[in-house]
Amino acid sequence: MLGAFAVGKTSLVRRYVESIYSDAYHTTVGVKISNKVVQVNNTEVKLVLWDVYGEDDFQRMSWKYLEGAFGYLLVADGTRPATLDKALALEQKARVEVGALPFVFVVNKCDLVNDWQFDATLEAQLAAKNWSILRSSAKTGEGVEEAFARLTEAMLR
């Protein structure tokens, strides 16, 4: 799980793995690892989800966590434009550090429609670059299963 701080990485994992959501923001320090076994095309797949702390001025992310990863969810907060920029920067950095891994770009918090700032132009630009993009809400669950399912499929290809 890559993305700026407070974009909802931990919430997405908790929603996906434990079907739990909390409105309160608890910052992640360090790395949390969760497992989830899913069925893909009649094959049992164990997903090991590394919820890496969000990068900001206070914490620099260690790229060694991505060594050995099969793919990643790139998460941004659709209500905070700076996190979109951060996600784009992280994707570039990931490509340099660990090569072209499969990833899905998840623009989270789509339940906050009134504050939504992820504009369609950027979405179209990224889609034109063959990015797999979807909107999600850890709060409502919208797009969460699909995000992980898309990533799993991409990693198995």
Binding site: A6, Y25, G30, V31, I33, K64, G68
Partner: protein
């Protein structure tokens, strides 16, 4: 018997493990409780524990650890903190250190619980603050955008209003009428000034680089400002039947000069009076008073409204975007401006509920020395009443291309520029401007920044590119609704020679045109327009300040519109639609009145009255007479239009010159 190392490990929550290969470890010390919680009961010391298989994080870390263990020298490497969860759901922070000691591959696991919690707390606080800050910035941005939209929309009609007043002024002879027009012009100037200040102050405020010293040394007279504000606001108060009073207790002979600047101080009064009016009831009083307060001079505005809500602190009312009481102000700006302005000048501002009824808003400013004798008086409000209108004399006529999508601004500005003797080609978008440039040379090109299809900046780029090839240079003026200093600098970088913020004063445009004129090569003066031929038309010409172009335009409009109106009138009579007859006859009456066609006008009035009374019985004969009169007038006007093609200006009748001169004096 436990070794000292084992005791240390247990006491301080460390566990020492020896790597036996393939991610399996044997315990080198008694494990602390968290170890057992996470990975089961303590194993016999010699049974390898497959930790890598139990912890994906450790599995990953072992890659790094292996490098350390493969080293030929004593080495160590440390992981970052990671979280493992116990089967009961408790989160345990861990940190691993790989060591190579005497050839043994060692791994020390440690739970830095206290440091971890402290770090979480610090980061949580810091990030919460960042999130709050981001949220606040977003709110400010949203409001700033809204504010700019409001300001932009507010300022757009001002140009049209100003132009309309100028036009009205040209048509109005009576002294009373001129006074009313001057009041209207004064109000538009005041509003324009306020809008400009809102833009400037907010742009600066948001950048936190406001010029704190600007305009502090003019020492305006508080009493003059109060009087002017009362004069200006009296109509609004009268309309709401609220009495606006200057406190009779004020010492008229005292020295009321304060630190500050005239126009902003006027706005402080304006905002406070607006606020008082908003909360006043019909029949109530609003009193403007002044009093001395040590080295300060204090102004207050007392209203008889509902007073301040007890839960509201004055500071809240003067905060940015505070809207005060329910159903109150518009954008929450007015009182904020008052506070920032007054505080900038070293004063203070507040409000309080009055003991019996209403509230008092007051501000105080440091007393200042009165301006020395002979010093230029402040820009008093009433000085604008004697606005002499646009000066024509001595200005060089230029060929101006004017691109503006707003029809009212385009028409009125064109009219004003032509009145000033310039030759104007007006178009409604950038594309048309570029097209006009292909066929004609212009001395000055006036471009609205925001136009459909091709905007002003785009046109400027094209012009400058072409000029770079041709080696020429036209004077480009940008008209923009975004008139901060940053905007001006930006537009100058885009290739404009001058920038004029909307709404603009004709005088400001004239000054820029004068500057443009001085950059042009000398050439012969343009041909003078022809003169009138009949006394009736001369009279009309005199009433519009001798402006033949306008007269021609009026004639063309009349000749174009009147046949349509006559046809519509005939149809309305045929349908016996009395209301429509009255309405159309009324419109015709107005047009005919302009051309002093008294007989025709009388017939139109008769028709209008018949229509209003729904008595259309005798209307047909009146209509026929009207038609006949109009036909005569049209013939005369066509004749005039033809003959003026070749007639030199010197033949203007004495009567026209006299009337035109009279208008200028007014």
């Amino acid at each position: 018997m436990a070794t000292p190392l084992q005791v240390f490990s247990r006491e301080f929550g460390y566990v020492l493990l020896e790597h036996k290969g393939e991610g399996k470890f044997v315990l080198g010390s008694d494990p602390p409780s968290w170890f057992n919680e996470l990975w089961g009961a303590t194993q016999p010391a010699d049974v390898p524990i497959p930790l890598a298989a139990m912890s994906p994080f450790l599995e990953n870390f072992l890659v790094e650890a292996q490098t350390c263990w493969s080293s030929s020298q004593t080495a160590e490497c440390r992981s970052e903190v990671w979280i493992e969860s116990t089967p009961a759901g408790r989160e345990v922070p861990l940190q691993a250190t790989a060591l190579l000691r005497d050839g043994q591959q060692m791994l020390v696991l440690h739970s830095p619980e206290a440091q971890y919690r402290e770090r979480v707390q610090i980061l949580q606080t810091a990030r919460n603050a960042v999130l709050e800050h981001e949220k606040l910035l977003q709110e400010i941005q949203k409001k700033e955008i809204l504010l700019h939209c409001i300001i932009h929309d507010l300022s757009q009609p001002l140009s049209a209003m100003r132009g309309s007043f100028d036009c009205l002024s040209a048509f109005t002879e009576s002294e009373e009428g001129q006074k009313i027009i001057a009041l209207g012009k004064m109000a538009t100037q005041q509003q324009e000034s306020m809008i400009r200040e809102i833009i400037q102050v907010f742009a600066a405020d948001l950048r936190a680089t406001m010029d704190m010293e600007k305009g502090v040394n003019h020492a305006p007279d508080l009493l003059v400002c109060a009087r002017n504000a009362i004069t200006s606001f009296s109509p609004a108060f009268a309309a709401k039947r609220v009495n606006l009073i200057l406190d009779p207790q004020i010492d008229q002979h005292a020295h009321w000069h304060v630190q500050g600047e005239e126009s902003r101080l006027r706005r402080v009064f304006t905002n406070l009076l607006e606020n008082a009016l908003r909360y006043s009831f019909e029949g109530g009083n609003v009193t403007v008073g002044l009093e001395s307060d040590g080295d300060f001079r204090k102004a207050f505005i007392d209203d008889e409204g509902p007073g301040l809500p007890p839960e509201l602190r004055p500071a809240q009312l003067f905060a940015l975007f505070s809207k005060g009481k329910e159903g109150g102000g518009k954008a929450g700006l007015g009182l904020y401006f008052c506070r920032t302005t007054v505080e900038r000048w070293g004063g203070s501002i507040s409000c309080t509920s009055l003991p019996e009824i209403g509230s008092r808003f007051w501000f105080r400013l440091p007393q200042a020395a009165a301006p020395a004798e002979g010093e230029a008086p402040p820009d008093e409000l009433l000085s604008t009443v004697a606005d002499p209108g646009p000066a024509v004399k001595g200005r060089r006529a230029m060929r101006i291309l004017f691109a503006e999508d707003q029809e009212d601004i385009r028409t009125l500005t064109t009219y004003q520029l032509e009145r000033s003797g310039h030759h104007v080609h007006a178009v409604c978008n950038g594309r048309e401007a570029l097209s006009a440039l292909l066929h004609q040379h212009f001395d000055v090109i006036l471009l609205d920044e925001e136009m459909p299809a091709t905007g002003g900046v785009q046109v400027a780029h094209t012009i400058r590119e072409n000029e770079a090839r041709a080696g020429s240079h036209a004077f480009l003026i940008a008209l923009t609704g975004n008139s901060t200093e940053d905007d001006e600098a930006r537009l100058r970088r885009e290739g404009f020679d001058a920038v004029l913020g909307k709404p603009f004063r004709l005088e400001a445009l004239a000054e820029i045109l004068d500057a443009a004129s001085s950059t042009l090569p000398r050439r012969s003066a343009p041909k003078k327009p022809p003169a009138a031929i009949s006394a009736g038309i001369d009279d009309l010409l005199g009433r519009i300040g001798g402006d033949r172009k306008l007269l021609n335009k009026m004639i063309q409009t009349f000749l174009h519109d009147t046949p349509k109106r006559i046809a519509s009138l005939q149809k309305a009579l045929h349908r016996k639609d009395a209301d429509e007859v009255a309405s159309l006859a009324h419109a015709l009456k107005g047009s005919l009145g302009i051309f002093l066609a008294q007989h025709a006008r009388d017939r139109a009035q008769e028709l209008e009255e018949l229509g209003r009374k729904s008595e259309l019985g005798g209307a047909a004969s009146v209509y026929a007479a009207l038609q006949e009169e109009i036909a005569k007038l049209e013939e005369n006007l066509r004749g005039y239009a033809k003959q003026t093609q070749a007639q030199p200006r010197s033949t203007v009748s004495k009567q026209t010159q006299r009337l035109a001169g009279k208008r200028k004096k007014q």
